[in-house]
């Protein structure tokens, strides 16, 4: 198969560097790539040896991860000619995976992730106010409009990811754009707050629209502050979801679209 070379794909298949529990890290990475649509339903994964090299894990570790993904139902393997491992996009499984991941993390992990997301995105928003053209601002608005009407969890996640990635591209920065993509692969492993409380989607949409307005007014200070505050609020949602899950990881009232 020909591997796609888009930037977000690069992030999916980039080496894992978090040390312990590597097969679980592979499972999480693949899970979030499916949740963000980077790996499509029915898509074939690269051959085991290639995949192991890309992710910088041993073939043994990769096989463990694939076995787990098969058990979860996110991957099916067919033998023989035209065989291989194929992706199954299952929203129910992705939701359970995200809840399990949330239960593993401490509130400080969530705060750290939010801190980095806030730092990178707020910097991008400030720079975008001095660098985004009218065409780019129109594109940002279009993405936020799509977020407002997206009716599935994956559709919302995707539109939201594209908003932050586009914001970094508006800052004319390749490095910030790559950082945001990597962060979204991590954020994609966590529960999507509007799945628990659909009203939160309106808060996100309003938050992004206010930032785009500030960028259009070329008010970099305001764009930065609004982005920081918005992401701080989001971090608190994640932390509350984590605290509600208590010790057993079961998030109350979760809905999967």
């Amino acid at each position: 198969m020909q591997l796609l070379s888009g930037d977000a794909r690069r992030a999916v298949f980039s080496p894992l560097d978090d040390g312990a529990l590597r097969s679980e890290a592979v499972v999480r990475r693949v899970g979030s790539a499916i949740a963000l649509g980077l790996l499509g339903d029915g898509e074939q994964l690269p051959p085991e040896a290639d995949l192991a090299t890309m992710l910088n894990v041993s073939t043994m570790t990769l096989r463990e991860a694939l076995a787990e993904l098969r058990k979860l139902g996110l991957v099916v393997t067919r033998r023989g000619r035209g065989g291989g491992s194929f992706v199954r996009a299952r929203d129910d499984v992705l939701g359970e995976l995200a809840d399990a991941r949330l239960a593993e993390l401490g509130t400080t992990d969530l705060r750290e992730l939010g801190d980095v997301h806030g730092a990178v995105s707020a910097a991008a928003a400030r720079l975008a106010a001095g660098r985004a053209s009218r065409t780019e601002i129109a594109r940002l608005r279009d993405i936020v409009d799509r977020l407002a009407i997206a009716d599935s969890v994956t559709g919302q996640r995707r539109a939201e990811g594209r908003y932050f990635i586009e914001l970094a591209a508006c800052a004319q920065s390749v490095r910030l754009t790559m950082q945001v993509m990597d962060l979204h692969l991590e954020l994609g492993q966590l529960p999507w707050p509007p799945a628990s409380d659909p009203g939160l989607l309106d808060v996100m949409v309003a938050g992004h629209r206010a930032v785009v307005d500030a960028i259009e007014d070329r008010d970099g200070g305001l764009a930065r502050r609004l982005t920081e505050e918005h992401i701080e609020t989001r971090t608190l949602w994640s932390i509350e979801l984590r605290l509600r899950a208590g010790g057993d990881g079961a998030v109350a009232a979760r809905e999967v679209s």
Binding site: Q2, L3, L4, S5, G6, D7, A8, R9, R10, L36, G37, L38, G40, G130, R131, A132, S133, R134, T135, R139, T154, R157, R158, G161, R162, I165, E166, A168, A169, Q172, S173, V174, T177, M178, H184, R218
Partner: protein
């Protein structure tokens, strides 16, 4: 223009114009390849369009482009989807690579090229176009200037041919060509974005600040919607 500043501007705009025409010369070669009879069949059937040797243009001596090729207009009625034949230099010096972006609308990484300026402007105007500097997000992932022209077959727009020049290469080439530190100038595109600058405060990629001292009309660069302005900025370093 006979003042020293005027002579400097004339020299810079000639150098910039040469670079632009050189890259459009390469684009014209890609265009000629699309017009070969075998290539035109590929356009209609959805098969391969460009000959293998087209990619070798990237290895031509003095070539500034880091990528080139053809991007085809989708025709959903005939079940001909988004597709492109685009090659890139490997930044690490390896063999040429074909660009395989994610063309599925359901993906976070969807490369919706029909909405990009480098595709849409030649489609609408029927004329060549230069875009950038911009981050080619979801595509090459690089910081680029992209030069494209429309391909029209039997009166129908079938796509664009073009070339990417990395902003770094463009700058290095021109700074080397101009030698020393020329009188501080900025080169602005049609969005008032800095394309090239020899004034440290005027960052490449930034927009001219709103309400800043006007730079005057500047001097147009032939063949491209860019303007050159001398700027009176003081230097930042004292030594």
């Amino acid at each position: 223009m006979t003042s020293p500043g005027g002579r400097e501007i004339a020299r810079v705009r000639a150098a910039v114009s040469d670079v632009v025409e050189q890259v459009f010369g390469t684009v014209a070669q890609v265009h000629a390849a699309v017009r070969r009879p075998a290539a035109r069949d590929g356009l209609h059937t959805g098969g391969t369009v460009l000959d293998h040797d087209v990619r070798e243009l990237l290895h031509a001596p003095g070539q500034l482009a880091v990528g080139l090729g053809l991007v085809v207009a989708p025709r959903p009625d005939e079940e001909l989807p988004l597709r492109l034949e685009w090659w890139q230099l490997d930044p690490g010096g390896g063999p040429l690579r074909s660009l395989e972006p994610d063309l599925r609308p359901t993906s976070l990484g969807y490369y919706d090229y029909t909405a990009t300026e480098w595709f849409d402007v030649p489609r609408r105007t029927g004329r060549r176009h230069v875009v950038g500097p911009y981050v080619d997000v979801h595509g090459t992932g690089r910081y680029l200037l992209t030069l494209t022209e429309p391909v029209v077959v039997d009166g129908e727009f079938v796509g664009v041919v073009g070339a990417d020049v990395s902003v770094r290469r463009f700058e290095n080439h021109l700074l080397a060509l101009l030698g020393g530190l020329p009188a501080p100038f900025v080169l602005l595109n049609d969005e008032d974005r800095v394309v090239l600058s020899t004034a440290p405060r005027r960052l490449v990629g930034s927009l001219l600040p709103r309400g800043a001292d006007p730079l005057g009309a500047g001097a147009g660069v032939p063949g491209v919607p860019w303007r050159l302005h001398l700027v009176g900025d003081a230097t930042l370093l004292r030594a």
